[in-house]
Amino acid sequence: MTTAVAEAQDAHDEHHGPEKGFRRWLFTTNHKDIGTMYLVFSLVMFFIGGSMALVIRSELMQPGLQFVHPEFFNSMTTMHALIMVFGAVMPAFVGLANWMIPMMIGAPDMALPRMNNWSFWILPVAFGILLSTLFMDGGAPAGGWTMYPPLILQTGDAFPFLIFSVHLMGISSIMGSINIIVTILNMRAPDMWLLKMPMFVWTWLITAYLLIAVMPVLAGAVTMLLTDQFFGTSFFLAAGGGDPVMFQHIFWFFGHPEVYIMILPAFGVVSEIIPTFSRKPLFGHDSMVYAASSIAFLSFIVWAHHMFTVGMPLSGQMFFMFATMLIAVPTGVKVFNWVATMWRGSMTFETPMLFALAFVFLFTIGGFSGLMLAIAPADIQYHDTYFVVAHFHYVLVPGSIFALMAGAYYWLPKWTGHMYNESLGKLHFWLSAIFVNVTFFPMHFLGLAGMPRRIPDYSTQFADFNMIASIGALGFGFSQLIFVWVLLTAKKGAEATDRVWEAPKGLEWTVPSPAPYHTFDKPPKARIAQEAFE
């Protein structure tokens, strides 16, 4: 099977190989090229957003003002969040989706390849505009990534650029998710039934539906902000009869599903890796699909748990509190199934597995602190403190970012045709795992002690834990340079086999390593390919 596919692809490449030079990247419609561009772009954004995090942590290393003006500090927190959410995590998962989904379902490419090119190239423009605001009169946006009015309307010249760039990011995400859904629903190999699809494909299908539902809501909210600022409307201006709290409701109707947009594909990646390195099939595949779908559904009816302190009827608080707690059930199903997959498996601990294991353990910590925040009366104490910062960073850093790292190490040999440096990979993992906890765990204590978030200075009682967190952040940041080195030297390792690992399952492992420029010109028989490996 593998040989037949390889021969067919070699013949095909002679006629339709990639173009040379920049035209290949500018005009490409190849899903692998576009996937690579998404991944490189997100890595660049990860370092830009990360350097902003280091500015924040350097300023907070000691009480008092050290390095930056408070207004610039606020710009850093705002830009760090916008860049990490929309520029690093989301595009990185879209990059993985572009690379892997067509190969996993036996499709020759994405269903709408030209739109795929557009949805990528909109992103550098959007973030070029956003980053240019750092040099504008009044500075970059500083009202927080939530963009609450009336505060955000005090932004200087940067305001319309912020709104425009958020619109562009939204358009890019919507186009990307339309492409993913259309591809999965229409381009699967004949034997690839929906419930036979790999978990990564399933979680991305659900994520793409979430994106199509909520990115237009964010776009609608920022459009209304724009008209309030420049066209005399009063959607959110109390003086004109508008309602600023309505913005918060609309924003979080987008914002909470957004959390799952960043974590569901991570669940998919981990669900691919744990079975491979446990040498067992994924425990409860179908229940994982139903759990991911349940999480997606519930994410639409919990948004006001971000707003308990804004004020709402007691019945509203009760509803949003219990609905939020309900999410723990399908999430628990997933964690149970990952553990059950490993149970009595023949486990080995290569770098992707290490990151995946850390994901399961540390993401669960983030999940538990989320349950604490869901309790409405307790949230009045926790709200707007560093406890919240600790919570969502546990979800997003050892959660989403670790899953991305796991996925990158797992599929890198398939992309490059060479094994990466395993020792450096493990060093990268251990430094990341240690420093991520040194950075974010003390923030729980700071929050419980009452340290508010989004401030450049603090009371001296918080000094020790802030010093520890800042040292951890610097360590974590510089540890990521190891990953860059691993990538730069990725082609120097031993040649990878087609299967790469000992027990991977799925169509992507039936094509040669590196994956040819064109794969599956003719639809493969999914079941035949699977059986060849079992």
């Binding site: 859904i181 259309v182 539902a213 609608g220 459009t223 508008g242």
Partner: protein
């Protein structure tokens, strides 16, 4: 072009149109909520 390919193209077109319509409905719908409440 085989019948199978034609069906696939038709499916791609139909799914795309539905998804674009859904996205537009959410965008305009939420702005309409804003208009009705303000």
């Amino acid at each position: 072009m085989t019948d199978e390919e034609k069906d696939r193209r038709r499916g791609v077109r139909r799914t795309t149109i539905i998804l674009v319509a859904v996205a537009l409905a959410f965008y305009l719908g939420f702005i309409l909520i804003g208009v009705l409440r303000s």
